[in-house]
Amino acid sequence: MNKTLRSLILAAAAILPTTAVLASEGQSLRIATEGAYPPFNFFTADGQLGGFDIEIGRALCAQMKANCEFVAQDWDGIIPALLADKYDLIIASMFITEERKQKVAFTEPYQKSAMTFVVPKDSDLKDFSPKGLAGKTIGAQGSTTQGDYLSAMFPDSDVRLYPTQDAVNLDLASGRLDAQVGDMIPMLEWTQKSEDGACCVLAGAPISEAKYVGEGVGIALRKEDAALREQLNQALAAIIADGTYKAINDKYFSVNLLTLQK
């Protein structure tokens, strides 16, 4: 019942002004993530947030000696809510793109980025050009780089944008989609490690056009919090240097996320 209580208290607390983010020791930070993007961020069976993003966030907080609290936020509203001061950071495997940089600031990348097509195992699709996929049904999560990529590049296909990655996976597995475009790493994990992902395989060449995948995956924060950004960059460099990053990386993935190499 304690979540009910917490939401009631949150509702009450929401009326009071929250303390501004100050770059000082012992600061408290609210971090948003999506919670529907395994293995980066997801809900465990006991309803808690977990995953690579969460652990990186915790490691950064420990390095900065900050008190952190994670909140789950829908992807569609994740940037607007940051701008509306609902939380201070987004650690949710977000690509650093030009369009997003106009709204928010990013730290240095903490993962390298690429996208890929995924198709059902029995699919005979070979040609992943706009022409080859004309008339096909392709899915992706909305408000994402892969969604923008599909909307911009495949005007002749039936492009469907879903609220969560889970929903895209569900519909690819059930055969509603002919193909989907997703981030390389989660798609690799999904197809190789999960029961339902066994339906499908990666296909085509990796998509790495900088226009769509940007410079990598970063932590988003408001532009005015420049001091916080500096602190995060230092903390990130520190956890990469002392091996904390590698330990978390190896717990979840067989490839190194900073290089996308084995």
């Binding site: 569609d76 940037i79 607007p80 701008l83 709204k103 899915g139 909305g142 408000s143 923008d148 469907r160 944008l161 879903y162 609220p163 929903a167 569900l170 519909d171 597995a173 059930s174 055969g175 509603r176």
Partner: protein, 247 residues
């Protein structure tokens, strides 16, 4: 604000077309289904009454969003049997899933409205019909149903508006209705005026619909308004509809 309208007006209008299309098709199908079910609901035999009662109660007692998820994502779990039954092409498409859900939902509401209409038909008129020796079918066709539909008419209009507004949930299963286009545009621009224009569009649709429905209602109940209709030249259906009251 205006620049947002210029940039997205095409998408918003195509969304409005889809919203109207889903609403109209679903409500027409529900309109056809609701009459036999409403009659069953009034059947003297409990074996006929109870299934309809349960169906109506379930669809009126659960959120439309939950029903939509049950039909759309739920059917995905039964792909193999559905393919074998030759039905998968239907459930594969989010548009058809939304249509099915809305038909089921709206039928339940319309059955309940029609039941109220049937109950409110003045018993004197029915008795008069029986006294005239009308057969059961005649009785329904000439006395009971016209009365019941006239009584239920305003409530049916409300139900249509509720369905029009309720159809916004299809945006959650990737259908690009007004709401879907709006959310897509908002995620590209983070500009709140998109929501403003969507609100204007919905208000326009509901207001026009309310005005049309009132006209239609006046037209249907014109025998109650003008007692001394002048014999004159016959007018076409369109003129009668557009003036509401036949002079």
């Amino acid at each position: 604000m205006i620049d947002i309208l210029e940039r997205f007006s095409g998408q918003l209008l195509s969304g409005a077309g889809l919203t109207l299309q889903i609403t109209l098709i679903a409500s027409l199908l529900a309109f056809c289904l609701s009459l036999p079910l409403a009659l069953l609901r009034r059947s003297p035999s409990a074996a006929w009454r109870w299934p309809v009662r349960l169906y109506v109660s379930f669809f009126r007692g659960t959120p439309l969003l939950a029903q939509l998820f049950l039909v759309y994502y739920g059917s995905g779990q039964f792909r193999v049997p559905l393919t074998e039954a030759g039905l998968w092409w239907f459930f594969r498409d989010p548009y058809y899933c939304a249509l099915l859900t809305f038909v089921l939902n709206s039928t339940a509401y319309q059955v309940e409205i029609l039941r109220g209409g049937l109950r409110a038909v003045p018993s004197g008129q029915i008795e008069a019909g029986i006294a005239l020796g009308l057969r059961k079918l005649e009785l329904y066709r000439r006395i009971i149903l016209p009365n019941a539909y006239r009584i239920a008419f305003p409530a049916l209009g409300n139900e249509l508006i509720l369905l029009l507004k309720g159809s916004a949930v299809v945006s959650v299963i990737t259908v690009l209705d007004v709401m879907g286009q709006t959310r897509r545009a908002f995620s590209q621009t983070f500009d709140l005026s998109v929501y403003f224009w969507a609100a204007v569009l919905y208000l326009l649709m509901t207001t026009i619909f309310v005005l049309l429905w009132r006209r239609l209602e006046r037209c249907l109940t014109r025998h109650l308004h003008c007692r001394s209709a002048q014999p004159g030249k016959r007018r076409g259906l369109f003129t009668r509809l557009s003036t509401g009251v036949a002079p």
